[in-house]
């Protein structure tokens, strides 16, 4: 093997064939990705074109007037922020703690497997079922009435499974070897969680959770029976008040009001999407900030 083979680096037929096949697959995957973002761009484009004209500071900061045909969306915007925030405050602690228990403490037995199965199934329950549950449990049984509290509790119950799943995934991304190294030194489970597991999963947990929960801003059914109203002249003062919400307002504006200017519902939809995108951007910015502080 002392003398170099002159044809050693020439592409053989097989090499060329492999290269062609590889390019074809790359193209296929690329096209699929394009297909994926096309509807997103179309939706956003339509909203901006048709609803952009409605957007103004006045639209964002005033209440609707004339049976919602004129005026703004302020009470609905504020109501949605209330609902999502309270739902976050309720579901995140419970969901995250439960996920830590399931992932770090619970053994692998039939009981935990049943809990995991229940969580997965709960995540698949249609939102209208959650709505009826919320109506029965929080509005009627616990006598919270139709209120932000009842609606947010309903949203919280609905998002709890995805919060648990997102948290568990972040926890399980921490290699087992790290835990074992820590246990080997005589650390308890909690010391290991606090010093090794959480510091390395907290960014994933928080951003995953915020992404999941911000999606509830668009939910309509679960809040319709439990706390959101078509119209109220009052802004909510506490969690025991009813409120307007963007999603329900969109439904009303788009289907229930005759003689509505077309740009109003598109404008409402644009505000709703912008709100969700803002929450997501905040969570992504937060993640980048944490990453910058603590590289791994």
């Amino acid at each position: 093997m002392a003398t170099a083979n002159p044809t050693m680096f020439q592409a053989s037929d097989l090499n060329q064939h492999n290269e062609r096949v590889q390019r074809r697959y790359q193209l296929l995957f690329g096209l699929m990705t394009l297909l994926l973002i096309t509807p997103v761009l179309l939706i956003l484009g339509t909203l901006v074109v048709k609803g952009g004209g409605a957007i103004s500071w006045e639209f964002l900061l005033t209440a609707p007037t004339d049976g919602m045909r004129t005026g703004g969306v302020f009470p609905a915007l504020l109501g949605t922020i209330w609902l999502v925030t309270v739902a976050l405050l309720l579901s995140v602690p419970i969901g995250v703690f439960a996920a830590i228990y399931l992932s770090e403490y619970a053994g692998d037995n039939w009981f935990t497997r049943m809990i995991n199965l229940a969580i997965i199934n709960l995540a698949g329950v249609p939102s209208i079922v959650h709505a009826l549950f919320g109506l029965g449990a929080f509005v009627l049984f616990f006598r919270f009435g139709t209120s932000i509290l009842a609606a947010s509790l309903t949203l919280a119950v609905m998002t709890m499974p995805v919060v648990i799943v997102a948290t568990r995934e972040s926890l399980q991304a921490v290699p087992q070897a790290f835990r074992e190294a820590c246990w080997n030194m005589g650390a308890t489970r909690w010391q290991t969680i606090r010093r090794v597991v959480l510091p390395n999963s907290i960014t994933g947990i928080l951003t995953g959770v915020i992404l999941e929960v911000s999606r509830t801003a668009g939910e309509t059914a679960p809040i319709m029976f439990t706390g959101a109203v078509f119209f109220t002249p009052f802004l909510p003062q506490s969690v025991f008040d009813q409120t307007m919400a963007l999603s329900l307002h969109l439904f009303v504006a788009a289907t229930q009001v005759p003689g509505m200017a077309e740009e109003i519902p598109f404008g409402v939809a644009l505000v709703l999407i912008a709100l969700v995108l803002t929450m997501n951007s905040v969570s992504i910015a937060f993640r980048m900030w944490l990453r910058g502080k603590k590289k791994w």
């Binding site: 692998d108 074992e180 190294a181 246990w183 080997n184 030194m185 005589g186 308890t188 390395n200």
Partner: protein, 270 residues
């Protein structure tokens, strides 16, 4: 001090002589994973301040033994340990506080695990778990342990860089420094030199020889010559069985009781 005396009691394998208090006594130890038997009826005793070598081919049950000593079996599903392990005279299966046991035993596994925190925090972790908070105290411990593990000179300027970004060999020495930071009674090393270059291996071996003054060392190794260089006594494990325990030099000079030991030591195996 032990190495010269060890030859005098070369004959014994199980129970140690009176003048050598045993740090670790293992009686009739059997380890199973489901239906697989990893270790079968092993008896041996490790004396205080000796380096005890364990050699043997893959699948011999060496790593399983270390896990059982450290009571890590509770974290391995399906692992079942029968028999008795006495550490400092106490039956480890009856200890109510396994955390105290583990904190007195330093373990170094074959593949280095640099925890995803700074070099400093890696070494300060165990002292912190013990409740040491003062920065000055921690500084002293960190420097001492890193120096001992032959790593200080390489990392003294990057103590606050991530430990997991060190090279493989450096991470292994970091793991050793972390084990030393536990101020252990017993140091167990499992094929520590797999990921370390020969020069560094030699430096670590020198460190181990010095450490013998303070801690008892259980050294599992695939390199029989490493056992010869370091161990006062050596056990030969084969397929879950402890074939022979003897003074290391005897095993290497052919004074063995079992032909299989001679074959393995001389590299005529399988």
């Amino acid at each position: 001090m032990v190495s010269s005396g060890a030859a005098a009691v070369a004959s014994d394998t199980g129970a140690p002589a009176d003048n050598f208090p045993s740090k670790l006594e293992i009686r009739n130890l059997t380890i199973r994973y489901g239906h697989t038997v990893a270790l079968r009826g092993v008896n041996l005793a490790v004396r205080e301040h000796e380096i005890f070598g364990i050699i043997g081919p893959a699948n011999a049950g060496k790593t399983s033994l270390l896990k059982a000593i450290n009571r890590m079996d509770v974290f391995t599903s399906g692992m079942k340990v029968d028999g008795e392990i006495r550490f400092n005279g106490r039956d480890t299966s009856r200890l109510s506080n396994v955390y105290a046991l583990r904190s007195r035993i330093g373990v170094v596994f074959p593949l280095p695990v640099g925890l995803p925190m700074t070099v400093y925090d890696n070494v300060a972790l165990s002292p912190r778990l013990r409740g040491i908070k003062s920065k000055a105290d921690l500084d002293v411990i960190v420097q001492r342990c890193l120096t001992r593990a032959a790593l200080w000179d390489e990392v003294k300027d990057r103590l606050h860089a991530l430990g997991s970004l060190l090279s493989g060999g450096q991470q292994q020495r970091l793991t050793i420094a972390r084990a030393l930071s536990q101020e252990p009674d017993l140091l167990m090393l499992d094929e520590f030199s797999i990921a370390v270059d020969p020069v560094t291996t030699m430096r670590i071996e020198d460190v181990l020889k010095e450490l013998r003054q303070e801690v008892t060392i259980l050294l599992v190794t695939n390199l029989v010559q490493q056992a010869r260089r370091l161990a006062d006594r050596t056990a030969f494990f084969l397929n879950g069985e402890c074939v022979e325990v003897g003074v290391t030099e005897d095993l290497f000079t052919g004074e063995v009781k079992d032909q299989r030991t001679r074959d393995y030591v001389e590299g005529r195996f399988g």
